[in-house]
């Protein structure tokens, strides 16, 4: 198990460094998918295959592809300016990352986890779903958050359609009259 942990940590850390160090935006995005896959491996290692599968589905399969899609549509693959920005901020970024890491380790060590321990979360999708929508033994607030998140997504989708909608000749005329 410790061997699996070391391999997964190596994948995640090396990919994460690749994201911030590589000078090509597309390479950064691809490294990011490697980091996401590493995190999915952690979920699988902690006996939570549903979370691992969702991580791969949403982050590797959708988010990374959409990011790459956006990069390819909006700019040329090689952008020169990127290198100077990276060099100027590398020290500050490293300091901030170190600080956040130290803070997270401190919080995790100080936190009283109660009766829960790693690898004993809900294993089947059914129990995960029940906890998420608060049907049995779940907190009700999760159901509310779930609904709020879905409304947020709906608003975002509608807004995207409104912004990107091609104005027909009729609509433009009416607007001009007003």
């Amino acid at each position: 198990m410790i061997f699996v942990f070391i391999v997964l940590s190596a994948i995640t850390l090396i990919s994460s460094f690749g994201v911030v160090i590589s000078r090509n935006v597309v390479h950064s995005a691809l490294f990011m998918s490697g980091a996401f896959l590493g995190v999915a491996g952690f979920f699988a290692m902690l006996h939570s295959p549903a979370l691992a599968a969702l991580q791969v589905l949403i982050y590797v399969g959708a988010v990374t592809v959409v990011i790459l899609f956006g990069i390819m549509f909006t700019q040329r693959p090689q952008v020169r300016r990127f290198r100077t920005i990276l060099n100027r901020q590398v020290g500050a970024g490293f300091t901030v990352a170190l600080f956040v890491g130290a803070l997270l380790i401190y919080v995790f060590l100080q936190q009283d986890w109660g009766s829960t321990s790693a690898g004993h979360g809900p294993r089947t999708v059914a129990s995960l779903g029940r906890i998420l929508v608060g049907v049995s033994s779940g907190t009700d607030i999760f159901a509310l958050l779930f609904e709020v998140a879905s409304i947020l997504l709906l608003v975002a989708v509608v807004a995207a359609i409104v912004i990107s909608r091609r104005k027909t000749g009729e609509g433009v005329e009416r607007r001009a009259e007003e």
């Binding site: 597309v26 691809l30 599968a53 590797v60 399969g61 990374t64 959409v66 790459l68 390819m72 294993r123």
Partner: protein, 334 residues
Amino acid sequence: MSAFVNALDQEPWRFIISLLAIIFLTLNVAAVLTFAERKVAGYIQLRYGPNRVGPRGVLQPMADVLKLFTKENLSPGRADVWVFLAAPIAMFIPAAVIWMVVPFAPKAVVTNLNIGLLFVVSTTSIGALGVVMAGYGSRSNFSLLGALRGAAQMISYEVPLILSLLGVIILTGSLSLVNVVNNQAGGFWHWYIWSQLPMFATFYIAGIAEVKRIPFDLPEGESEIVGGFMIEYSGMTWALIQASEFASMGLMSAITTTLFLGGWQPPFDFLDFGNFNWIWFGLKTAIIMFTFQWIRWSVPRLRMDQLMDFGWKFLVPLSLVWLFVTAAGTLIIH
């Protein structure tokens, strides 16, 4: 002898052997389907197809594989070499790995994951990443166009693909493919295709789009963008892309069979062959594969706007409506 067989049935060996069998199967499915594709095309167009190597050309796949192995593996000078070479692998691994959760016969499944269906859709979605990598890594305009089309198409059609699975999940109450097959036992009228006919149609069409076959082959479109994302590939890298396309076509047929046509369940109870029920699985999968090829040689390619309209304005609403119908029906009956 039996002690040896029992030792092989223990956990690490069972997994390793069955995984190797799966990879062997994937590569062979790709080779045989290439031959079948050309043969079906030939007969549909009233000609013979390949008929020189072996009797009726059945040794053609072997000759193809030998040719592809000995061809030089070129990569364009301007290419982003690592991304260029990693792309075929990123396409092939998902197509090979998903076979792990497909039940071939009563006990013949590599791993019976309790999230089987989730595993299928999440691993399929990595394939889109491979297409984008190939298109970017080649650094050619045709490749980039193909990759952009491919990414847009695969993301759009994943939505109806996943929605159409939900009906089966509601009826089964489980995400495991083994449970899905077990729930369809007892004759062909118990298969989910009857109660889930719109979902079956949605899954079938979205599946064709997901494996980028005609009429949804815009990412490749030989007559428009001369091969799209795979234009710069040659030799074994090209063969790997082709293999992953044909393997994912076979996979989509196998998943369709498992979800809607009862998997390895025989059509009538008296035709139950016990451990040899993989014959039924193979037969149904082969029929679905043949319909894929039939469609390929009968239908013209869609335009990009038609593709998006069809996915978002027809397939998604249809599967949503039938999802409500299924949910309501399940509530009323139980």
